[in-house]
Structure formats: C-alpha cells, structure tokens
C-alpha cells in the first residue's frame, strides 16, 4: 500500500513534465491509461506494448528505437505488459540496448492485469507485441503482433500532412 502510494506520488510528480528517465520505469496502474492519453492529447503518439519474455518483441524493439530517432515529432511510449511479469531491471536493459531509454517507459504494476488491459481495450486479452498509433485527433490504429517498419513510416508521413 505504502509502496503504491509512493509510486503514485512519484508518478504524479513526473507527469507534468513527462520527463523521460533511463533509470526507472513508470508504474502503470488503474487510471494511468487515461492520464497518458490526456497528457499527450493533440500530438501524434506511438504506444508499444511489449515484454521481456516475448520473442517477437526482441526483434521489434530496436526497430522502434530507430523509429524514435528518425521521428522526433512523434511521442514514443512503451508499456511493459508481459504476461509473464518480471523485473524492471531486465526490461530497462532491453530498452537501453534498443535505443529506447529516453522514450516514456511504463510497466504494468497490478497483480490483476485484466483491469489494466480492460481500460485500454476490453477486447485485448494480453497478446504482445501490440502497437497503438494515436493521431493528434485521437484516432487510434491498433496493430496486433509485430508492426512492420513500413507501416509505421506510412502512418508517420500521414501525421505530417494532417
């Protein structure tokens, strides 16, 4: 309970600046999804759900790191939603080596993960990787499984012309 409280305080403190840090992951709890959408409203955002134990994620993560480098106008957010929950140490190491340490990085922090997924998409049963492309107008495109870099590129071009 106390840890949750501290995490919440830290989270609230971190939110206004949305300062990315490469030393810790933000704790994704009930209500985090709404906060996240609210804090980035009006800007195109790529939200990537992944996990350390997910095979295809190992291939995709460095591609996302490259995407972030090439597209500074698009906010990149990662959320560790591993169905086999594990330590943030391993997740941070993977994010760093993928060039994503400066993205906004979250980790599911609820022993009852169903309710976190439900807030994001009630139909989502937890398969990862999963990418949501959220346009400035809030329109969401969901990509199940690995996202092709060409698909991300096409979407990012569309965001510029909007």
């Amino acid at each position: 309970m106390k840890r949750n409280l501290i995490a919440t305080i830290l989270l609230l403190a971190a939110l206004p600046a949305v300062s990315a840090s490469d030393s810790a992951m933000m704790s994704f709890q009930r209500g985090s999804w709404r906060q996240l959408l609210h804090s980035h409203a009006g800007r195109p955002m790529l939200v990537h759900f992944w996990g350390v134990t997910c095979g295809p994620c190992k291939v995709e993560l460095p591609q996302l790191g490259e995407f972030m480098k090439q597209h500074p106008a698009i906010q990149v957010v990662t959320i560790d939603a591993d169905l086999v929950p594990n330590s943030d140490t391993a997740a941070l190491a993977m994010l760093r080596s993928a060039g994503l340490s400066l993205a906004e990085n979250w980790m599911f922090s609820d022993g009852f993960a169903d309710r976190l997924r439900y807030e994001i998409d009630p139909a989502w049963q937890g398969e990862i990787p999963r990418t949501l492309l959220i346009a400035a107008d809030g329109n969401i495109t969901t990509i199940e499984g690995s996202a092709e870099p060409s698909v991300l590129e096409k979407w990012s071009v569309e965001q510029r012309t909007k």
Binding site: N4, V52, T53, C54, G55, P56, L83, V84, P85, N86, S87, D88, T89, A90, M107, F108, S109, D110, G111, F112, A113, D114, R115, Y118, E119, P122, A123, W124, Q125, G126, E127, I128, P129, R130, E144, G145, S146
Partner: protein, 412 residues
C-alpha cells in the same frame, strides 16, 4: 454450495508451520517478484497463497491438489471434497524458478495403483528458456522423488501435459524449442516450437526417449490432453500453419504409440507474430466424440469457440461461439462425461471476473443458456472442471476468496 473461503483448522495450523519453515524461501520469492504487484494474497507455500491449483480425483475418490505457491510446487489430498486437506508435501527442492506465465500450471495424475505423477516447468536461464521436470510418489503422496528433467535436451521445454492411459502407461507431451538449433545452423528462420512426447511404463519413475509429434507449433500456449475410448493419447494444441497462422490442431496417437496425422480443428485465420498465452482444452466422451474449446482473434472469427469431432479428430463441427463478446471471454475449459458435457470460462466486466457455465446433455449438439456460477473481485487462476464419476466440480483459485471447489448443480 461449498465455499472454502476459510480453510479448516488443519490447514491453518499447517500454514503457521509452513510460515516458520519456508520464511526464507518466501522472502526470496517475494524479492524476485518485487517489481510487479503480486497475483496472490500471500507469499508462502500454503494453498491460500497459490497462483495456480490443479485438481484431480484419485481412483478411490480422494481429491488431490497440486499447486504453485511461494515459488514451490506443493501437493495435498482431501477425502471430504476439499473441506480438510492432508498436510501439504513439497515436490520441488531448493529454489526453482518456476514458470509463472498464464498458461503454466503444475500437472498431477494418478494411476489405479496409487502412483502419483507430477510435472512442472521452470525457467532455466535469464532468457526464459524452460525446463520440464517430473516427479513421482509411490507412497500415497507422503514423499516425492527428486524432480528430474523429462528430457536431456538442454534447449527449452515448457507447457507440459501429463496423463495415465487406462493400461497405466503415463503419457507426457510438451512444447520444445530444440529444432531452432539445426534451423539456425542452416540459416533458416524458426518460429515457435515443436510438440514432443515421451511415455513411462513404470508409473513415472523413468521416461522413454522423447520423440517429435509435430513441428512448428505455437510456443506459449497450454496443451489439451485427453485419451480416446481405446486409450490413445490425443493432444490439441495451437499450431503455426503456413503464413504464420496460429490456429488450432489436433493429433491422435496410434496403437504403436506413434503420432498420427495432424488435423486442423478450425480455420480461424489468426495471423499473428505474438504469444497468445491461451491454449485449448480437450475432453473425449465414452462414445469417442472429441470436444474442444479455444480462444482466437482471427480474421474469420474472434473470441471463444466450441467444436466437436465424431470421426476421431479428422473433421470438426462448425465452431460455436461461446460467451459474451463484450466481456472478453477467456480461459475456456471443457469436460465431458456419461451424462453431460460442460464448458466453463471467465468473463470480465472491468471490476469482477465471473465464471460462466453452459452444459449440453446431447453430446454437444445443443447447449444451455450460459449462467454465472461464481465471481471474484481480484486476480484468479483459470477455472477448471473435474469429475469424481458422479458429479462435476468447478475448481478455481482466487486471490480474494481463496481456493474454491464447488459442485456444479446443473450437471448430474
């Protein structure tokens, strides 16, 4: 309705003992999991702390449970339908890194002589490669042999299934990633895993050399295992069909114990390079009808489905949707018996998880309207069904309400 929210004095007394003896292990387990909020209400090895509980009835009607709690695999039995439990016995030794993924769970099976076979998966390294272990008790569950790897191959095995056929041969199957090695050497991409199997003629003391049943299966979903009326093992699994389609398949073993042809259960067209962590459930009637339930998110259909086969798994009926689509139906389980076939699954409304039930008394041709039989407000294991030959029971481990074994009234 038997609701074992409060365990008996016997269990509570054991819990205190367990707390004293496994405090160090529990602390290590808690530390390992400090980065995510626990799925369980406590961290020691008592049943009430379990994240997964697997039940089975022995030939004499004794209920046996194998569970995962405090980082260990535990077993105990009950002669009164779960009201009181025998003193739990630990199967694992040391500090195994047990597979805690959603479709992992300890397996337990009993033969007619009273041999108790147990199997479970661990992670062998930080890359989450798995290792399947088995153990056996020949003294009615008082002691278990030191767990041994089911294969000497050192790549990765997970998602084991275990069962005795009617002749007392113990059949084990699992998902195995060994074939990625020759593929890598040949410069080929290797997706998924392979279905491997082995048998034991000595009640689970030793297993035969393992063999391949099917290659290019999905690597992260539970297997459905049942035996046909002749005693042949039948395994339902999520396969990878051409074009990265992760639909379900089934294989029936022949008289020589060799795998037959792999047949497709349904063309759902779920093309996905991801880990669904949701495998099928299979039950076979005395008339030889195969009953299968599964989850898909394919182009052709999405959600939970039921189908049956009356020709030994060669062809299946048109998939029947199960559950309310808006409530994320998941984790289906099917059990068929002499008088009825029952399916349970979970639904979630954003706050509570419900276990839904539907039944069929005509071999799966028509089904009752689904009813809610239980619900819980926090994390829970998959709902499972077992039968003692007279009644069906729902077995469900919940964080908030403990372990529940409840007779199902709708099914005779």
């Amino acid at each position: 309705m038997i609701h074992h929210r409060r365990q008996s004095m016997m269990i509570r007394r054991f819990t205190i003992l367990a707390l004293a003896t496994v405090l160090a292990q529990g602390a290590a387990w808690a530390e390992m999991n400090h980065n995510h909020v626990s799925e369980t209400s406590c961290e020691d090895t008592a049943l009430r702390c379990a994240s997964k509980v697997t039940p089975v009835f022995g030939p004499d009607g004794t209920l046996w449970l194998a569970w995962m709690a405090g980082g260990q695999i535990m077993t105990a039995s009950s002669r009164d339908g779960g009201r009181t439990l025998s003193e739990p016995v630990q199967v694992t030794q040391g500090k195994p890194d047990l597979d805690w993924g959603p479709d992992a769970r300890p397996k337990i099976a009993l033969d007619t002589k009273g041999n108790i076979a147990v199997a479970f998966s661990t992670f062998r390294d930080k890359a989450f490669n798995g290792e399947v272990f088995y153990s056996r008790s020949a003294d009615g569950g008082k002691t278990f042999a030191s767990p041994r790897p089911i294969t000497d191959n050192n790549q990765s095995q997970r998602f084991e299934a275990l069962g005795f056929d009617r002749d007392g041969t113990l059949f084990a199957a699992w998902l195995d990633k060994r074939n990625r090695v020759p593929a890598a050497k040949a410069g080929r991409q290797y997706d998924g895993a392979a279905l491997f199997f082995a048998t034991s003629k000595d009640g689970g003391t030793s297993f035969t050399q393992d063999s391949l049943a099917a290659d290019s299966t999905c690597e992260c979903c539970r297997l459905g295992l049942a035996f046909d009326p002749s005693g042949h093992p039948v395994v339902a699994f999520r396969n990878i069909f051409e074009g990265s389609i992760r639909d379900h398949a089934i294989v029936t073993f022949n008289d020589q114990g060799r795998p037959g042809e792999v047949h497709r259960i349904s063309e759902d067209d779920w093309q996905i390079a991801a880990c669904p962590h949701q495998g099928p459930s299979l039950s076979i009637g005395q008339d030889g009808t195969y009953h299968v339930v599964w989850y898909t998110n394919g182009k052709k259909r999405k959600g939970l489905f039921y189908a049956r086969s009356k020709d030994g798994g060669k062809t299946f009926s048109e998939p029947l949707p199960v559950g309310e689509p808006g409530k994320g139906p998941s984790r289906p389980y099917v059990l068929t018996g002499a008088f009825a076939t029952a399916i349970v699954w979970k639904e979630f409304d954003g706050e509570r998880t419900s276990v839904k039930l539907m039944t069929s008394t005509d071999g799966g041709a028509t089904w009752s309207i689904p009813t809610t039989i239980l619900s819980t407000a926090d994390a829970s294991d998959h709902p499972l069904l077992i039968s003692d030959g007279e009644r069906y029971y729902l077995s469900w481990m919940t964080k908030a309400d403990g372990y529940i074994l409840q007779p199902i009234k709708a099914v005779p």
